[in-house]
Symmetry: C2
Subunit: 166 residues, 2 copies
């Protein structure tokens, strides 16, 4: 396959994949583009290559920086800012996992902890208490696994274990 087509396929697929997981398509596409660029790109480059507006490019670049997936690069003698994606896929996975855990999973665990204490003795309340309890149990276990597996001090171990288990 031609590089050009392959790049395009990758960018489209990454965008679609992202939106299935609640990530704005453009953001995922900008990320994809930067992932496969050997050199940092300017806002203009991103706009041109993805055919998106300046505002859109700017907003999504900032969002990616906020997610620690992209760094702002300043070249000496250049006025413009350039953008470069973190290229270590383990780091990427870790950052995304930790961020979503913090923003989405943890609040859910907290809510369930509260809801499972709802008082009452009728069948409806009992069923509610049982389900929220079980969900709290499950989500906090998942939370614990993710916490452990994304701690930087165990990443080396996981990489190794993952290789052995392959």
């Amino acid at each position: 396959m031609e590089l050009h087509d392959a790049k395009d396929k990758f960018i489209q697929a990454w965008g679609a994949f992202g939106s299935q997981w609640g990530i704005n398509r453009s953001m995922a596409q900008v990320h994809a583009l930067l992932l496969i660029s050997p050199e940092p790109l300017s806002t203009e480059d991103v706009m041109d290559q993805l055919n998106i507006s300046r505002g859109n490019a700017n907003m999504n670049l900032r969002a990616l920086i906020d997610w620690h997936l992209v760094d702002r690069i300043l070249k000496t003698g250049e006025r413009r800012e350039f953008f470069q994606a973190e290229k270590d896929v383990w780091k990427i996975a870790t950052h995304i996992t930790r961020e979503r855990k913090k923003r989405e999973l943890e609040p859910m665990v907290k809510l369930l902890a509260e809801l499972k204490r709802t008082e009452g003795q009728n069948a409806e309340t009992k069923a509610f208490r049982q389900m929220t309890h079980d969900l709290h149990d499950l989500t906090s276990r998942i939370d614990a696994v993710l916490e452990r597996s994304t701690r930087s001090d165990v990443q080396w171990f996981l990489k190794a274990a993952s290789t052995l288990l392959r």
Copy 2:
């Protein structure tokens, strides 16, 4: 907290959580409602309790059945169909994981396997090949972990291990 308020909070939160993960809000809310109902509910019940239309209720109930999260229940002497959610949270998590793995992760792994073979020797192609290779490696490892951890014959082990690690 009142059961009524607690139920409502749970349904809203589950809906919001779902939509952050690419699941239609109504579908998540219908699921939440069925999760905490001790008895199976009819389409009418769902419509009333969530204030949604017949079409919407029907479509999402069917989607949930398709995802193996809800069963259709026939009561003897009743014309209507009733719906009941699977209540085992491990089973729920397993079904969702396997389904999304199949629908979303596996196609991505396959595409990356193809893209990482893009030929060419310039810097751009090399960077592309490197990144798609690394991503293929990561995604197929994740795929393997999920495959292993959701196989019914190891669920018993994971439940036990998870308890010990708590």
